[in-house]
Symmetry: C2
Subunit: 312 residues, 2 copies
């Protein structure tokens, strides 16, 4: 049981992306899993960010994060260092993408060190970074009440043993379909989720991009839709915004009941739907509770149907 | 407006399949769009089937259809003819499949002729056959109240003009994602559905296999999930079972209100979920209202979430 109005700590990448879509392009687009997560979670309560950037990182982005109340005390700035950079091109369907370039830069030697104030944070989200770094963060925490984790095919393939160590200490795993299959070597998602449940996590969130997300928890499944959108501008950061809305809502309301987890899935979907409507964090930096509530209502209408059972 | 308890007429293939999955195989597996549709729709009201088979078609299958109350008076049996045959192999993910062989056989010269009693049917479903045949069926009907249509990439590519003629006379189009994009040359599904709305159909159902289906109607979207299943035995016929549940429910309840269409989407999903749990029509021939209602309830639980809007 966690207290309501708890803080969330996120550890992950803070990046400068170069995003190319079929109709537009943005060079120097601020991104990174921790950036998107923090912006999304900031509407639910207090957020602490741990990461590293170089001196090339735009000061405006740090102001924007602070403006949303995000604690950036744990964002290390390496003088003369260069920020993590990713360049990618989206296909016509806006789902598939090709990575054109990845430069780890200051992320290559990142050694996460938690400010003392961070160690007591109740909720921890380990965004998609090397499992070894995730373990080092976990070891510096004084017993977080709820730990969420993201990972990727690269770590499942190359750092499996470490990843399994992390998983033992995780409450909620967020992973995409193919990663769930790769981790468990089981093509059926229901069986794969059950297998992940034996590795540590009490809840498994399977992300399916434009098809929404599934939550496996307590032997039950919940299906959260994605909102069909007329204008998808830039899908970068959708998964991290989902995680930010999800963890942020859990921090706000207190405990991991089935009802709270389901609402958290919808808040995750709400924030992801806003994220893809703009480049970088343009849209998710400009929300308020009214806009978020209105879209929550759109999700309710998207899935609502009557009890219309057959009578003989 | 259609009357409640109306009949549904389906025109489509009646086939013998050879289905190979990663773990099992069935030669001589009775299939075909009209077969699956009829079985699924039979739980909602009376169903009439129009199609053609050869003398090799198993008599048991005709008995099974009759046993479910399906009117097979329009199923032509060609003496010495050979039934339409399809052979396919499913991949490990049970979604993608390779067609290994297709033999049109008696379907090649099929000239649909409606028995007099069929012409007055209120609801018509034109399953996935050549648009020219679909037009010939439409021309023999005396003003059906509701027409549903399925089609495929082949006809969009090779018989576009005829298909557009059919579309003008259709109320509900059921189509998969890629076909919707191909038909409209628009990658965004929301825009594609709106464009299809200008071609004739008042409602567009976009089928997404294991990801469920979307309904576009009256400027609104409804997202129906697919049920995550632990054991998918044979996905063949899932889309046709969906169509049967969907059209069958509309025939039963009478008119195309938003609420009825949404419930029809769930009944379609319910029948599709049963279909994939067995080979051929094994599972959907063995249902009853209690089993169908219980699964409708499973779908309700799969998507249910609370109103949990943020208060400042």
């Amino acid at each position: 049981m966690i207290e309501g109005k708890s803080s969330v700590l996120v550890v992950g990448s803070v990046a400068v992306d170069w995003v190319i879509t079929p109709t537009a392009e943005r060079e120097e687009s601020v991104g990174g899993s921790a950036t998107f997560f923090s912006m999304a979670a900031s509407y639910f309560g207090s957020v602490r960010l741990l990461g590293v950037v170089g001196s090339d990182f735009p000061e405006q982005a740090i102001s924007d994060l602070k403006g949303r109340g995000v604690d950036t005390g744990g964002l290390e700035i390496i003088p003369d260092g260069k920020t993590f950079r990713w360049k990618g091109r989206y296909h016509d369907n806006m789902n598939d993408r090709d990575t054109l370039d990845t430069q780890l830069n200051v992320f290559e030697t990142f050694d996460p060190k938690l400010p003392t104030a961070y160690r007591e944070t109740d909720l921890l989200f380990l965004a998609n970074i090397q499992p070894d770094l995730q373990l080092r963060v976990l070891d510096q925490m004084s017993g977080p009440k709820l730990v969420g984790l993201d990972t990727m095919n690269l770590w499942i393939g190359t750092a499996r043993a470490k990843l399994l160590q992390v998983l033992e200490r995780v409450d909620v795993l967020m992973i995409n379909e193919e990663e769930a299959r790769q981790l468990t070597e089981e093509p059926n998602l229901v069986k794969a989720a059950a297998m992940i449940g034996t590795m540590g996590p009490k809840s498994v969130v399977i992300k399916r991009g434009e098809y929404g997300a599934l939550l496996f928890h307590g032997g039950k499944v919940f299906s959260a839709p994605a909102l069909p959108l007329e204008a998808v501008v830039d899908p970068t950061g959708a998964g991290d915004s989902f995680a930010g809305g999800f963890m942020g809502y859990l921090a706000r309301c207190g405990d991991m009941t089935t009802e709270n987890l389901r609402a958290a899935m919808i808040y995750g979907s709400v924030l992801a739907s806003f994220c893809v409507e703009g480049f970088s964090y343009d849209t998710i930096a400009a929300l308020d509770h009214d806009k978020i509530n209105a879209r929550y209502e759109v999700f309710a209408n998207l899935t609502r149907f009557d009890d219309a059972r057959l009578k003989d």
